[in-house]
């Protein structure tokens, strides 16, 4: 939802002294934890995420149910852990297409395209004039609520950032000596672009990908909260926050824990993003 693009220029393949910051390590460890929870949720959860238990309705946190139970007696901890799979899937699937498509399109239009560059530029101008969330929910409204349609909607809009980042970077790299040299050597344009220029121009897009994954999770959860994303009874974190919103005063745990899980996932990706930005930034 936000528009801070970490723009940075990368000088060609000079020797880099890379620094690994503790934030990157912490971020990666947290990611490992999230991935484990997503792959093997049953290792961590004693209960099913969807089974009702009418003998344990709206119970506060206890040793048996550390995060309490909801209004159907479902174990909140189990739902939060099972939700990891859905929300990580949202992070990956809201960004995969925009990243690949936007980056390649940016590379090609910057490298070769006079009219193509102008056309894509106008389309990008059109897309950014709509508030991101408004356009996404308008598209989801057209296609119908649900995760698949949300992925389509985000993909239709999200490529613009990657296109911009990569386009600017390739325009700069194209004039670098090594790129000129590769062209003089007679390599095909495709080879010069894909083998020589793109590897040196993709860093900003990769760094942004991490930020974008955390934005993707927030967006997916926001749509889930509004009722336009994942549909109940799926244990998606945004949906769970919405499920518990009417019980905030009497049973705070239903909404609070999935919200904390969301925040943790967001922090994880932005730590990795910041750490990557530092690690990949060339030092003089």
């Amino acid at each position: 939802m936000t528009a801070t693009l970490p723009v940075q220029t990368v000088t060609a393949p000079a020797a880099r002294r890379r620094t690994i910051k503790p934030t990157l390590v912490i971020g990666l460890l947290l990611l490992l934890l999230l991935v484990l929870a997503a792959l093997f949720p049953r290792l961590f959860t004693p209960f099913s995420p969807t089974d009702f238990d009418y003998t344990a309705i709206l119970k506060g946190p206890t040793a048996k149910h550390p995060f309490g139970t909801d209004n159907f007696g479902r174990d909140v901890l189990s739902r939060v852990i099972h939700g990891t799979r859905i929300d990580l899937q949202i992070a990956v699937l809201t960004t995969a297409f925009p990243f690949v498509f936007g980056t390649l399109l940016g590379a090609v239009t910057a490298f070769r395209g006079r009219w193509a560059d102008a056309v894509v530029g106008r389309i990008a101008d059109l897309v950014v004039v709509f508030p991101f969330l408004v356009l996404v929910i308008a598209i989801v409204a057209v296609l119908g609520p649900g995760l698949t349609n949300m992925y389509i909607a985000v993909s239709a809009v999200g490529w613009v950032s990657y296109w911009r980042l990569t386009r600017g970077e390739v325009l700069a790299q194209k004039r670098a000596e090594y790129a000129q040299a590769a062209q003089v050597l007679g390599y095909s344009p495709a080879r010069v672009l894909l083998r020589h220029i793109l590897p040196n121009a993709v860093t900003p897009a990769i760094v942004y990908l991490m930020t974008d994954m955390s934005l993707g999770i927030l967006l997916g959860a926001s749509l889930g909260y509004l009722g336009l994303g994942a549909q109940p009874p799926a244990p998606e974190w945004g949906v769970m926050v919405a499920d518990g919103k009417n019980f905030m005063v009497t049973a705070w745990w239903i909404s609070t824990f999935p919200g904390l899980a969301l925040t943790l996932a967001g922090v994880t990706f932005s730590l990795i993003g910041d750490g990557l930005a530092d690690a990949l930034r060339p030092r003089a």
């Binding site: 059109l126 004039v129 709509f130 929910i137 057209v142 927030l218 909404s255 919200g259």
Partner: protein
């Protein structure tokens, strides 16, 4: 600022608006499900549905509908809400001030938090103060708006009773108190977005040669800070706010839903669930026009504050 630049920038808006209209029109007409049948319910006969479609002009070819849509738009007519039977423009006119109030209030809170903290973090860069400020806002950036809103609403509104729970109120003082929590929610989020970029731009100014020179010629720190550093920080803030207007509007849509505020954001969500085509269409258009105008104003302001920007 030369006139040619202003004229060129204004002319760019026209094809953009045309494209916006085509996009919105196409989008809304791809919506599955027939609004008329939905509205009339299961008991409506085919004949009644046909008549309603004719009255609403939904039986004509798409291209004709688009032509009519543009002609109506040029007359300032956005159509009529299918559910509420009220002109869309009037509906938006009634609700837009609420959303504008909320966004300006939120922007104010956001700037009030972000600018001093960014300057503080920049001055004390790489100390624990800096780390604390950045850590706090890093966390804030990861906190979903709807979740932060819900927690503030429960804690400060419902439990402690410090603020009204949702709604908009009737008088201006009431607006300020009713919208405080939603504006705080949005403002905190905005501050988190602004802080990161502002901090680096303040550091850039602090280490610039002209600031070193100002210091070297013996100007007091306070003068250097207000005349050079803050001034430049505010220029970046204007640009950043402009760039983030879309995010702010998106945030308003969610915040209004959480706090039950009768603004255009909530109207949009309601309209989507009730398949009220003309309202969704009108609102998307108004949002796009609003963002385009803010971009325009930001560009012009930026060109005025920094003459180098006109070249771009």
């Amino acid at each position: 600022m030369n006139t040619a630049y202003v004229v060129r920038r204004l002319l760019q808006i026209i094809p953009l608006f045309l494209a916006v209209m085509v996009l919105i029109f196409t989008l809304v007409h791809l919506i599955p499900g027939d609004p008329v049948s939905t509205l009339l319910g299961d008991r409506a006969t085919d004949e009644i549905v046909d008549r309603a479609n004719r009255e609403l002009g939904l039986d004509k070819p798409l291209i004709v509908q688009f032509g009519l849509f543009v002609v109506q738009l040029l007359h300032g007519n956005l159509g009529e809400s299918i559910n509420l039977k009220v002109p869309v423009l009037r509906l938006i006119g009634e609700r837009l001030p609420v959303t504008l109030f909320l966004t300006v209030y939120a922007a104010f809170i956001g700037i009030l938090l972000a600018v001093p903290l960014a300057v503080l973090a920049a001055v004390k860069r790489n100390t624990w103060v800096d780390a604390l400020i950045r850590g706090f806002f890093q966390f804030g950036l990861s906190l979903p708006v709807f979740y932060l809103g819900l927690q503030l609403l429960t804690l400060l509104g419902a439990r402690l009773g410090l603020f009204p729970i949702g709604g908009y109120g009737d008088t201006i003082p009431e607006h300020f108190s009713h919208l405080f929590l939603p504006a705080l929610t949005l403002g905190l989020n905005l501050a988190a977005v602004l802080l990161r970029t502002l901090r680096s731009s303040v550091i850039e100014v602090l280490t610039a040669e002209y600031v070193e020179f100002a210091r070297a010629k013996g100007l007091r720190t306070r003068v250097v800070m207000t005349r050079h550093v803050l001034r430049n920080a505010l220029i970046s803030t204007v640009t950043l706010l402009g760039l983030n207007i879309g995010a702010l509007i998106g945030g308003a849509v969610i915040t209004e839903t959480v706090f039950a505020i009768p603004g255009v954001g909530r109207l949009m969500v309601d309209a989507i669930f009730s398949r009220d085509y003309p309202v969704v269409q009108g609102l998307t258009l108004v949002f796009a026009v609003l963002v385009a105008l803010v971009f325009l104003v930001t560009d012009l302001l930026h060109a005025r504050l920094d003459p180098r920007a006109e070249v771009a």
